[in-house]
Amino acid sequence: MKPVDNNRFEVYRRQGRSLHLSANARHRILEAVRSCETSKAGASPSEPHRRRKATSPRTHLSSAFALKAACLLIIISVGLNTIFAILPSRNLETPQAIATSPLRPYERIEVHYLDSSIVATSQEALCVVPVTLYVSDLSSSQVTINLQGSNGVYLISSGSLPTETTPHKTTLRVACTILGQIHLQLLCPTSITREQFDEGSRSTNSPNWTSTEPVKLIERLRGSQLTIKEDGGDQATFRIELDDFPTLEAIAAQLRRGNDYIPPYFSLDRKDSL
């Protein structure tokens, strides 16, 4: 290492080396040692050596140590809080994301009104409305849904279209996401005839049934019950809450309230849980 200036450091060294412990100081130190020696020998000559107790115990922690200890404590607390608050909910697959949604009810049926369609077979025209059920406390990846008292509304898997041979089912086995979301479609026959449908398909203007038929489908669900059964045997029954929407106009208004980001929804009223 390059010194600042060799001459300067030589002077510095010689000046430092000129410091000597004075004779008085040496004498005083030896006196102190001898008095210690005498007091030890006089106190207990045969007593074995004991560990000397500190003469001036520390009563205060140093501030640096206290600061480090406090920081460490905070980090550990935050870490433990994270582990014990979040991990159990992840492990139990509890749909915390739904529970923490501040603007919507905990359990609901979202109606993808804008994606609803009219599909025609040779026999009839059917209204198909995609929906998403949000249900808590589901631990299975597959559930069986049963719709009772549906007044002609049936269930069909998400993404599929009814054909001539598609049976009208009120029981459907579907997948359930980790957040308790179940995607499926509701299906019901309409009063639209095959001729009207063909005419509407040829028309440049959009026929008005695409907005009215889903409203009628929801109205048919009034008083129906939805039972969701898990593979483990647990099941829950819900009623679609339409008490606040007594007329077709009220249902239509609720459906039109939604947009691309927030679909319209109706609450699910949990009846019982076995």
Partner: protein, 185 residues
């Protein structure tokens, strides 16, 4: 436990080095004498066996350093200025603690400039500079005494030398050079 004869021999062999190190850290002969006394009392009470004279020497310097750090920490906690009955106004200002020591204690006359500048260095740099340039220890020996890594020793030395260069350069500046430097900032 050691006897007083052993301590007497140890004081003869290592007393000056311990005192010098304490002087460098505390910048006061009186405090340094107290630190030396405490160090040798600790040696007397210690049950440690030393394999060689250099082992004992390192141990004594390490104990001195710890005692000086404790003392300085306690002083920093004192809420008021230290009282010196010999001072004219009865008060001894800690901020000017070092300068009378340097002028009065160092036997060799002449240029005390480096002592003054070293006294302004942070304690951790000052101890390394003392051990390296007064006691002539190698960086590896300083590692053992202070219980720090070799990189740390070199880093402290490098920073200390940089600070010393800057302080010496600033002291030798003419007034015009000072004005120019301040204007550049």
């Amino acid at each position: 436990m050691k006897d007083s004869d052993f301590i007497e021999q140890a004081i003869s062999a290592h007393g000056d080095a311990v005192f010098r190190f304490a002087c460098s850290l505390l910048q006061s002969t009186q405090s340094a004498e107290d630190a030396t006394q405490e160090t040798f009392l600790k040696l007397f009470q210690s049950e440690k066996d030393f394999s060689s004279e250099s082992h004992l020497h390192y141990w004594l310097l390490a104990i001195t350093k710890n005692y000086c750090y404790d003392l300085l920490r306690r002083r920093r906690r004192l809420p008021v200025l230290l009282v010196d009955p010999t001072a004219e106004d009865g008060l001894e200002h800690p901020s000017t603690f070092g300068s009378p020591f340097i002028e009065e204690t160092l036997a060799i006359d002449g240029d005390h400039v480096l002592w003054r500048h070293v006294a302004k260095l942070p304690l951790r740099q000052r101890e390394v500079v003392h051990l390296r340039y007064v006691e002539d220890f190698t960086p590896r020996e300083i590692e053992s005494i202070l219980g720090i890594s070799g990189i740390n020793v070199r880093q402290r030395l490098s920073r200390a030398l940089k600070s010393l260069r800057r302080m010496i350069a600033q002291e030798s500046e003419t007034p015009q050079e000072v004005i120019n430097r301040e204007t550049r900032r």
